[in-house]
């Protein structure tokens, strides 16, 4: 039996072929291009690199991208939980429809949601008008960015929490029936612990998505440098100006951020799993 890096104890066929193709594909589509970015960045000197990264305009964009994403993910965590709760626990007319609609931001092209949001929240738009009456302007401000990020992050939280709630649901019924536990007790002891990891996972995924989001945001944000310019847009602008160094450096830092987020998501998921022995599947 050949020991070594790839151990294949299963006698099912196709290991070499499928793994080979998968690795080949990933290398070409993902690894190679990412390597190009890394190398390009590496060709900059440290001074150049830092200069680009700490440029005030760039810093303003970080604040916006990250801050808005954080806020949006937090709002999604709360409302997303409520939505998931309503979907799992209650029967109401149109429930199936609503449930299907949750995936809409996922399936809808970002440009479409971008212009739609811009139109709805523009000062002349349906909601924009109403909000202007109360003195709040959404379009062309950082608020607009947050709204857009809430939209695209919603499915992550809801779809993450739903299965966890369904799981908790089972335990809940049993606990209530056999132990006569009170509602708050049930909520605190059974539901929250079961759901928290899923909620955290959804939050982190929404956050990761929000930091990098482009299409939904650029129409509603107004794109004023230092005010409502997100980091991805800054990268695009630098590319258009042929400032490849700048684009590369910023892209690199965003990539690093993405990896950190991915790592965090994996950690959270692993942490969530450690409590499950054979919970459901």
């Amino acid at each position: 039996m050949a020991p070594g890096w790839f151990r294949n104890p299963s006698i099912l066929p196709g290991f070499g072929l499928t793994l080979g193709f998968t690795v080949f594909f990933l290398s070409g589509i993902v690894l190679l291009p990412l390597a190009a970015l890394v190398f390009k960045t590496a060709s900059l000197t440290w001074e150049q690199f830092f200069a680009i990264l700490t440029d005030p305009r760039a810093v303003a964009s970080y604040r916006l991208s990250f801050g808005a994403a954080l806020l949006a993910a937090a709002i999604n965590a709360v409302f997303g939980f409520i939505v998931a709760w309503a979907l799992v626990r209650y029967e109401f007319p149109g429930r199936r429809l609503v449930d299907a609609l949750i995936d809409l931001p996922f399936a809808l092209p970002t440009a479409v949601s971008g212009i739609a949001l811009a139109t709805v929240f523009a000062p002349t738009g349906w909601l924009g008008l109403k909000l202007a009456a109360t003195g709040v302007q959404v379009a062309y401000t950082w608020l607009g960015v947050v709204v857009a990020l809430i939209l695209i992050g919603l499915p992550f939280v809801v779809r993450s929490v739903q299965p966890a709630l369904v799981e908790a649901q089972r335990d809940l019924e049993e606990a209530a029936e056999t132990l006569g536990a009170g509602p708050f007790h049930i909520f605190r002891r059974i539901i929250l612990p079961a759901v928290f990891p899923a909620l955290l996972t959804g939050f982190t995924m929404a956050l990761a998505r929000g930091i990098g989001e482009y299409g939904s945001v650029v129409f509603i944000s107004g794109n004023l440098p230092f005010k409502t310019e997100i980091t991805p847009l800054l990268i695009v602008i630098k590319l258009e100006q042929f400032d490849y160094n700048g684009a590369a450096a910023l892209g690199f830092i965003m990539l690093v951020m993405s990896f950190v987020m991915l790592f965090a998501i994996n950690l959270v998921q692993a942490w969530g799993r450690r409590g499950q022995v054979t919970a459901g599947r």
Binding site: L19, W85, L239
Partner: protein, 284 residues
């Protein structure tokens, strides 16, 4: 992403609160969703038909728009099959075998979800742009990837390749390999086992993954925007055309094209619901 495995079942409920509390929660949920989801959709339709049905239809006679539609379809026709094959291979390798580096592989497959689409375009420019790694090589042969159709296809592949795989991997892991082992003891070879035993098992998940992949492929904006060069009539896809029209203040046309894309999204969701419903009834 939970995809198919997020089942929605309102069970016989243990009451955790008052009826009023329940009503309130439902109201909040619906209001939130209405604001976020329904309003934009409504806006798309309202703006598209703002100037009447005729104007709406006229938007599609524009040459550039038609070219954009063609390019979008072409891209999808290349990207979706490629990603489907990838997804099936990756799911088979991951679900049926144990090997070191498996979690790394799964993480890599998840990568596009965490990476900004702009980065996807950026890395392709780093690779194939004029000053990129292969820039000179391509120029010598008078080939272009960036600011041309191949770049658009590659960027779209980058962003959409996880969908089929992520749908199939948990599904196949859940289904186990016993049926495949049985087939092998009965004398079946690799292809027969896959075609007649595995494929029927995964068909609904596969269908959903393909449809989702298609929707994203047709709708990808950020990555394509960076790589395309926005050359009207040649390298604009439907989403890019929407942007161009919108920036020209040609709102009706912009929303008309957007409405097509929105329709695609809705059809995707409908099929997804149907598929889930069927799968539910089948496996019981």
């Amino acid at each position: 992403m939970a995809g198919m495995s997020a089942r929605v079942e309102a069970r016989r409920n243990v009451s955790l609160g008052t009826r009023a509390g329940r009503g309130l929660l439902i109201f909040i949920a619906i209001a939130f969703l209405a604001l976020l989801l329904i309003a934009p959709l409504g806006a798309v339709l309202a703006q598209a038909f703002d100037k009447g049905y005729e104007t709406y239809l006229q938007s599609f006679t524009d040459r550039d728009t038609l070219a954009a539609v063609r390019l979008t379809l072409l891209t999808a026709a290349i990207v979706v099959p490629a990603n489907t094959i990838f997804g099936i291979c990756a799911a088979w390798a991951i679900a049926k075998f144990e090997f070191r580096g498996k979690s790394l592989l799964i993480t890599l497959i998840d990568l596009p979800f965490a990476v900004s689409p702009v980065i996807a375009g950026l890395v392709l420019i780093m690779l194939f742009g004029v000053r990129g790694w292969f820039g000179e090589w391509l120029q010598d042969r008078d080939m272009a990837i960036v600011f041309a159709v191949p770049g658009i296809v590659l960027a779209t592949i980058f962003v959409t390749f996880p969908y089929v795989a992520r749908e199939l991997i948990p599904l196949m892991q859940q289904q186990g390999s016993e049926e495949e082992e049985a087939a092998i003891t009965l004398g079946a070879g690799a292809w027969v086992t896959f075609l007649r035993v595995t494929l029927p098992k995964i068909r609904w998940g596969l269908l959903y993954g393909v449809i989702l992949c298609n929707a994203r492929a047709m709708g990808e904006f950020g990555a394509v925007s960076v790589v395309s060069g926005h050359i009207r009539g040649m390298t604009t896809t439907m989403p890019l055309q929407v942007e161009i029209l919108y920036n020209e203040y040609n709102f009706v046309a912009a929303f008309a094209v957007a409405s097509l894309l929105a329709l695609l999204a809705i059809v995707t969701l409908v099929i997804k619901t149907l598929v889930e419903w069927r799968a539910d009834r089948r496996t019981g």
